[in-house]
């Protein structure tokens, strides 16, 4: 074209031809990967024979799936342009539903088969509860039009409230032993929770990166108005995001029950802020529209390594908090300057 504008535009971009596409695709991920490796290396150097032991690896693998699932749940809400403060409450509520069924309805003399049946039933119920909780969030956000942070702040209280009312604050115990056995079990040497996590990582990856839904979700998260003007059904897209969020939270809840052999209204309350923190670390854009499953996975592993490693050094748990916060701010700054660079290139 004759227009001078475009000519020098070409020149400009031409210069960065090579690294450009790579940076566009993997820039932020490489940064994370680097951080993850270095944290691992540091811990390994400080105390190889403990940190590199199989036990430590197992323990790490056992722990991060719960936080990981909650973070994925958080990610979907954030990508849609909102946030979900109710993930932990949802998780506990679902877990409590499942536990109530398992404790109250399984006949004492039930055979293994019957018990398994009931357990499956309870799992289904838990997942349903999660979806309904998410649905409710989604409707309040996209139909009624309350800001997501307020909606989920309210439902966080509401769902935990329901859980408290159902349990009178006590924890539900006496679940069939299989539950905790499975929870602590392994398949081909891989801890069961990790297997579940991997399953849902794949699920999330498909939904977010491969299906047309994921594309629409990200567009909606970036700019709902423009998306509406592009013929996207913003309402249903958003609602689905929260339903998925609720579903993932429910799975996390079941894992918590499997790990503790009990369900209680306020289990894992510390996970909430951690989930947001890890999501942002993982490159999820707090303003919506962007989020990479791979990023979240690396972030959660990094954080777990950090936390288990620090535990190994017998520092107080408060110091973990301190480190987590520090890492978050560092990542924020890193991204900031990284983006500055990018925009300079263009």
């Amino acid at each position: 074209m004759s227009n001078p504008l475009h000519v020098n535009e070409d020149k400009k971009q031409g210069r960065f031809n090579l690294n450009k596409d790579f940076i566009d695709k993997y820039g932020d991920l490489t940064l994370l990967f680097f951080i993850m490796i270095s944290v691992f290396a540091i811990m390994a150097i400080i105390n190889p024979n403990v940190f590199l032991s199989q036990g430590m690896m197992l323990s790490i693998a056992n722990q991060f799936p719960i936080l990981g699932l909650l973070t994925l749940a958080m990610m979907f809400a954030m990508v849609s342009g909102g946030i979900d403060l109710s993930v932990v409450s949802t998780a506990n509520l679902s877990a409590i539903m499942a536990s109530i069924i398992m404790v109250q309805y399984i006949p004492a003399d039930a055979s293994a088969g019957v018990t398994t049946l009931y357990i499956l039933l309870s799992i289904v119920c838990a997942l349903l509860v999660g979806c309904v909780a998410g649905l409710f969030n989604g409707i309040l956000v996209s139909v009624v039009g309350i800001p997501a942070i307020i909606v989920t702040l309210g439902t966080m209280q509401l769902y935990m409230g329901i859980a408290l009312v159902l349990t009178k604050g006590k924890s539900i115990v006496g679940l069939p032993t299989i539950v905790s056995e499975v929870g602590a079990g392994t398949l081909f040497g891989i801890p069961f929770p990790l297997i579940i996590f991997i399953m849902f990582v794949i699920f999330s990856y498909f939904v977010l990166n491969l299906r047309d839904y994921g594309l629409k979700l990200q567009m909606t998260g970036s700019n709902p108005t423009a998306s509406k003007f592009s013929g996207i059904n913003v309402t249903s897209i958003t609602i689905k995001a929260y339903v998925i969020s609720g579903l993932l939270a429910a799975v996390a809840g079941l894992l918590m029950t499997a790990a503790t052999n009990a369900a209680k209204a306020d289990f894992g309350t510390t996970y909430l802020l951690q989930a947001i923190l890890v999501a942002v670390m993982g490159g999820v854009n707090p303003y919506g529209g962007r989020g990479k499953v791979a990023g979240v996975v690396m972030a959660v592993i990094t954080m777990q390594i950090l936390s288990s490693g620090l535990g190994m050094l017998q520092v107080s748990n408060f110091f973990k908090d301190f480190m987590w916060g520090t890492v978050l701010i560092i990542v924020l700054l890193a991204n900031l300057f990284y983006n500055k660079k990018i925009s300079k290139l263009s």
Binding site: M1, S2, N3, P4, L5, H6, E9, D10, K12, Q13, G14, K20, D21, D24, K25, F206, L210, R211, D212, Y213, L215, K216, Q218, M219, S222, N223, T225, A226, S227, K228, F229, S230, G231, I232, N233, G289, R290, S343, S346
Partner: protein, 488 residues
């Protein structure tokens, strides 16, 4: 006479876009100076440099011989420069009186708020352009016109030396425009300079004395208005003799219309719109900002569904409640506000192109097929001559014209029957503007029906075979282009 303002060699880039290139502007005390040029030629940007909103990449500014490499908004205000921004720049969450008085009180660096005084200032401000608006109403509840009036009144408060008016009349009725012009001549008598930006040539000829004309971010000429006639002015702005080419539909009218509106209406917005769009039609729609054109377009597209009258698509009655239904019925809409409604700036060019057709680009399990996506994107980039070397980069790096083409290709990809465009060439450089017009005509010749909303009368005259004029939510005339030419 000593110039009040001298801007020298000003350049400004936005990402890929060269908005200004070595532009000069000189304004003398007490003159009404007109800044003219096509959409997107850089007028607002130049103004924002003068008001300190944008830092120039290069160049310098003299105010009464005082040299500035860059101005800060405060300095600019202190130097007595007041701006009526194109987008009004009012505070929706504050009351009218506050919007009017706050900036003024700040410039007198008051630290405390005296509400009584605020009311006094506000009242007096509204009197100067004799309109009356409830000063206790929140601005978010006002009409576009009222907002613009407030922006004007606010700027008059200051004992300014220069008042910049960036398209101050877009939303105003003739009466309101008249009283604005009276105000301007009063100011002039007081020795206050005006920098006046408008697309409306008659306004320029009535009010302005001298004109600086920009094209494509560069100076073209600086002349006394008295030395110019309409055609010269247009020539300087566009760089072309306005060739009286007009568009004629090649389809005969005795077939059934693609779209037929009967007493189509939306409460508070527009009413009793009767309109028929036939294959090959390019129907221009014009009227003041706030005449309801956008609302009409958006009602057809289902953004805010109409609540009275009927709509027929290809002869059968249809109710369109949301954009998705519209797209299903092959009606698509290019909104006027490209940066916030047309494009998703934080997402890639590629994604912005395929977003409306992604369902057709799937492989099994509804996975997105990278191949299909690539093919489709490459096709449109080539077909519309979009200059985008890296389709995976954010669409925000593109120039106005290329951005608009991305919006177009998004819709053309969905093979619509009816294409509605709202001010599609605003902020678009001349080259692209031409090309976009060509694309539109080409589609129409293939049998598409087009509705083209614009302020830019020449644009309509050259590209439409019918022109609809709206005012206050009513259609006041539907003329065939030949009649329209005569009626004006």
């Amino acid at each position: 006479m000593e110039p009040l303002i001298e801007m020298k060699e000003i350049s400004k880039n936005f990402g890929g876009v060269k908005a200004l290139e070595n532009v000069n502007l000189t304004i003398y005390p007490g003159e009404v100076h007109c800044l003219a040029g096509e959409n997107g030629c850089g007028k607002s940007t130049l103004i924002k440099v003068l008001s300190g909103v944008h830092t120039p990449d290069h160049g310098e500014i003299f105010i009464n011989k005082k040299r500035y490499k860059r101005l800060h908004t405060q300095e600019s205000i202190q130097e007595g420069i007041q701006v009526i921004y194109q987008d009004f720049s009012v505070f929706p969450n504050l009351t009218v009186k506050e919007n009017l008085a706050m900036g003024y009180e700040m410039s007198n660096n008051k630290k405390l708020v005296n509400w009584k005084l605020f009311e006094k200032i506000a009242k007096q401000a509204l009197e100067t352009i004799d309109v009356d608006i409830d000063i206790n109403e929140k601005v978010e509840n006002l009409s576009v016109a009222d907002k613009q009036l407030i922006a004007i009144a606010r700027s008059l408060l200051f004992n300014a030396r220069l008042i910049v008016m960036d398209e101050p009349t877009t939303a105003l009725t003739d009466k309101e425009v008249q009283s604005l012009f009276n105000v301007i001549s009063n100011l002039k008598r007081k020795g206050i300079s005006i920098l006046f930006v408008s697309h409306k040539l008659e306004e320029i000829f009535t009010i302005a004395e001298r004109a600086t004309i920009l094209r494509n971010g560069k100076n073209v000429t600086e002349q006394l208005i008295s030395e110019l006639d309409t055609n010269q002015l247009i020539y300087h702005m566009t760089g072309r003799e306005i060739k009286e080419t007009t568009y004629e539909s090649e389809f005969n009218e005795n077939q059934k219309p693609l779209l037929k509106l009967k007493n189509f209406g939306l409460k508070y917005m527009f009413a009793d719109v009767n309109l028929e769009i036939y294959p090959g039609d390019i129907v221009g729609v014009t009227g003041t900002l706030g005449s309801g054109r956008t609302e009409l377009a958006e009602a057809i597209f289902g953004i805010a569904a109409s609540d009275s009258g009927t709509m027929e698509i290809n002869g059968e009655e249809a109710k369109i409640k949301n954009p998705r239904q519209a797209v299903k019925r092959k009606i698509v809409y290019v909104p006027e506000d490209r940066l916030t409604k047309g494009l998703i700036l934080e997402q890639s060019i590629e994604r912005n192109i395929i977003i409306s057709t992604v369902e057709n680009l799937l492989k099994k399990f509804r996975l997105i097929s990278d191949n299909k996506v690539k093919n489709s994107v490459d096709y449109w980039i080539k077909n519309l001559g979009i200059v985008a070397k890296f389709p995976k980069r954010n669409v925000s790096v593109l120039s106005g014209g290329n951005q608009q083409k991305v919006v177009l290709s998004k819709w053309l990809a969905s093979e619509p029957d009816i294409l509605i465009l709202n001010s599609p060439t605003v902020g678009v450089d001349i080259g692209s503007k031409e090309e976009i017009h060509e694309v539109i005509k080409e589609q129409a010749r293939k049998g598409m029906g087009v509705i083209l909303i614009s302020d830019d009368i020449p644009e309509l005259k050259q590209n439409c075979n019918k022109i609809v004029t709206m005012d206050k939510g009513k259609v006041i005339s539907i003329d065939h282009i030949s009649e329209y030419a005569m009626s004006r």
